[in-house]
Structures are given as structure tokens and as C-alpha cells.
Symmetry: C2
Subunit: 308 residues, 2 copies
Amino acid sequence: MSSLRYVALFVLLSLSAGQFLPAQTQNLAERLGYPANAKLLIIHADDLGLAHSVDQASFAALDQRAVSSASIMVPCPWLSEVAAYAQTHPDADLGLHLTLTSEWKTYRWGPVASKDQVRGLLDPMGYLWPDVPPVVQNASPEEVEREIRAQVDAALRAGIKPTHLDSHMGTLFASPAFFAAYVKVAREYGVPFFAPRIPNGPKDLLDLAEKNGFLLDGVAMAGEGVKPEGWPAFYAGILRTLKPGVTEMIVHLGHDDAELQAIAVEHPAYGSAWRQRDFDVMTSPEFKKALEENHIILIGWKDLKKLL
Amino acid sequence: MSSLRYVALFVLLSLSAGQFLPAQTQNLAERLGYPANAKLLIIHADDLGLAHSVDQASFAALDQRAVSSASIMVPCPWLSEVAAYAQTHPDADLGLHLTLTSEWKTYRWGPVASKDQVRGLLDPMGYLWPDVPPVVQNASPEEVEREIRAQVDAALRAGIKPTHLDSHMGTLFASPAFFAAYVKVAREYGVPFFAPRIPNGPKDLLDLAEKNGFLLDGVAMAGEGVKPEGWPAFYAGILRTLKPGVTEMIVHLGHDDAELQAIAVEHPAYGSAWRQRDFDVMTSPEFKKALEENHIILIGWKDLKKLL
């Protein structure tokens, strides 16, 4: 149910019963049936389909419930491996990591749409651009909409029933027109989309997101400031200081093996050892214990989907 | 120089000098400047670009001169890794393994051309077909020509200077019209193309190939009849019984690792262990010694290119 319709329903109910809180004062935790001060966490693995190494680590983490959700890069070569997993694991919480960039040196992919129809998304080799700025400079909102629609259609054809949409490297947050295309496609396919509440964020975009769904209360992710030896402490700190409401913690899982080392060559950030560290912390007994000690409830996008 | 022009030159020379053998009686070994009974061998690694595992094994074999030539699958994700190798190894004998199929289960690729322009090459997911018969059934010769031309153009854009063309899974040999497109594109780009002399083969195709280049005298490749433990003996037998002229021995190199095991899942033929066996035999001292003992001269497609 959309937020707009949700508000309308509450207005109607409060008129008749006279005792309902207005919808806008209910936070996301309450809307999900939890107390207002509940700490709800989505532990979300990005980049499924990128590499076999990433898939294996992510499937293992999903199977152990070390992560509660994940999203899939449809243009990447290993989509079929993920689609087979999705079919044998219908309860897995799997969304689409809409992908408009191809950022590694040795290993590249192109669009799902026909190249002629998305020329502005392509680098001179015909792959997706390696970074966000050239996408913003060269691609039209129409091309972006065409490509993300093609990615959703391809996932459906592959038998994947996406629980949500989000955006690889945040490309869809890099332009208001791209963001509008993202919201439009999510609405049409009836799936929630990732958008966090950002203090002092762009009001028009936040309003658009809230009108068409909801805003997550927070988002957390390891950045380049975290030193390898500080990995467990970084994540422990996130759990210890987690605020009430719904937070998404984004992790990048993989094994530090030959395939992933070659993909991430000369790129330690979000590289092979990085993804192994994320996997090691997420699947550690210490992390599991810290979740319990901090009274954190894991949820998935399937729970949030019910709010639409 | 084309065979036709080659014949014309010889006719001219024999008219003036009166002592040259007609061109058609010179075999390929003689045309390369060797005695007619010389045993010339191209040891050729297929499928570069398919996977990092394949690339690493093939680069190692090229570096050790354990193989004398190789060819690249342009639509595959690891093309950039191969292009970087080609640029740092300008003497490497690298052709294009023109690819019209995407045959593995977990790991797929699409065309290089815009999908709208090669619809007949695509399976329902938008990937290249998984096998040769649906390509023959669905793709027009025009689509085939468009795609292989796009593959050559993409390789050139990536900085690869192909020494030759050949055909992944032999798709371009599966229809006379496909074969004609292959010959046409090779001629236009001025590169030789793989075509073996086949006893009792289709005369019109063999004539077309010979008119536009030359026919190799033989081709050898491990098939499913070879048992794993019989691998060294199989290749030793090829060397021992090698006929005079130019033979291409096609090998499939790779390491038996997690990436390649996942790509070749449920497909032992040309799979991960298979490719490791090929690598192990090709790089073995026993194989090197057998080449010497049998007086076999390794050549590459660069040598053959000089005949055009």
C-alpha cells in the first residue's frame, strides 16, 4: 500500500473511530507492528551475480541467516547461478541491485537493453560506464528508465521474484531525473525501493520517495576509513549505537580467491580481501551474539513489501 | 596474399622463367619455406576471455611457448584482461575465437552487436544460444555477419591486432551461408581464417576457403573418448603420428579451481579438470621432449598470415 493511500485510510479510520494516531506520527517500526523504539535491522548483501566468489559467500550467509536480504546485479555474467539459487530458495529475500556501471578493470559487462536504445549508458567499448559521473553526463532519464526496466524484466524472465529494488554505486541517486525513473519503475512493478532518510537531504527527492513508499531510518556501510584490523570493531560499534527504527546495513560478501582477486585487481576498496572480511564478521559467533545483546531484530525487504 | 593472387603470380613467373612448379602442387609447408615433408604444428589454446582461470593458464602456456597460438572470445566478460595481456605481449599470437554461443549453465553472455540487430542469435533470456543447432535454425547469415564483424571491431577497439579468426564450437562451419560470412569478414579485415582440409568434406566450402586463403592439412583435438588417465598418451600419439604439412592441435587450458568448476558445473567435457589436464600435458617436459624427438616445428598464425 502506498503511503498516500495509507494516510487516506488512517484519516478515514480516525474520522470514524476518533482515536487513531495520524499515520505520519507512526514510525516505520510501528507500521511493521513493532514498538516505536524497536531496533530493526536489514543486513543486506550487495552485488549477487557479479562473480561466483560473491555468489558462494552470499548464498552461505543467506543460508545461515547471517544476512537477511541481498540484491542481484542483473547485467552480470553469473545471473543464472543466482536465478537457480532463487528458485531452490523461494524464501530468500532477494531484490535487484539495478546496475548502470561496470567498474572493474579486467572484467566488464554491458547493458541488458539493446545497445542502440541506451547509447548514453555505454563507454566507447560498449560496456556500461566505469563510474557514476559519466552516466550522469551522458545518459538520458529515458535511457536509464529503459535499462532498469529491462533489468527487472530479465530478472522476472529468469524466474526471480524481486522483494525490492536498490541502486548499484548509488547511480540512481545521482540525478533527480534518474531517481524519478527509479521510483516510477518500482511503483509500476509493485516493489519497494531503497531510499534512506537523510538529515538535510534533498527535500524534493525525500518527499517523492516517501509519497511512493517509505524512507529507511538509517543506513550503515564500511568505508575506506575502516582499517582491516578494525573490521569487527566497526560492525560492533554499529550494533551498539543502532538507533530505533529500520536501518539497512550494507555488506559486500565474497571469498578472497583467485577469481575475485583478479576482478578487483588494483582496487582494494570493496575488493577481494574486503569482501572476505565482511563475510568473516557477518558469519562470526561474536557478531551474532552482539545482535542479541543489543536487542536487534533482523528483518527483510519482504516485511517492508507488506507496507505497500 | 590470397591464394588466387598467389596462383596468378606463379603463372606469371613460370611463363617468364619456365621452371617453377605450378602453385597448386606446392603444399602449405613449402609455401612457408619448409621442405614438403616438414611437420609443422600450431598448438592452439581456445577460449581466452572466457574466465580468469582460462586466461591465467593460457597466458602461462603462451609465456612458456607451450602453446604457439590462441584465440579470444570477444563477447566474454574477461576480454579486458586478455586485451591488457595482448598489449604487454605484442609478439603473442592471438586471434579471435568468433563466438555465437553461450553454452554454460551458470554463466552467460550476450552478443557484442546491439540486440535489436541480431535477434535471431538470442535465446529467450537475451543471451547467445547455448548450442549450435538453434543458431542455425534462428539466425540469418546477415545477423551472423553483423555479429562477427562487431566482434572483430570490438577487439580492434580494445587494442588487439588479431592474427587469425576461428569459430567457437564450429558454429560458422554449421551452415554454408555462415561459412561464407566468415570468409567474407576474414578477407575484409585481411586476416587468415581457420579451415582444415577434410577428406570427403563439402567441396564447395573447401573450394571457397582455399580460394580465399588456404586449408590446414590437419586438425587434432581431445574428445570425450579420451579417458582422463589416457591424456598424456593421447597427445603423445598425435605427435608420433603427425603427418607432414600444417596441423593445428586445439587445446583448452584452465586451472581446476572454484571459478572454472562453477562455470563447467555438470559438464565434464571441456570442463575444469579437462582443462587442467590439457594444461598439465602441454607444459610437461615429456611433451616438449616428444616434440623434439618427432622433429616437429611449432608455428603460429603470424607465419600463415604472411601467405595472404
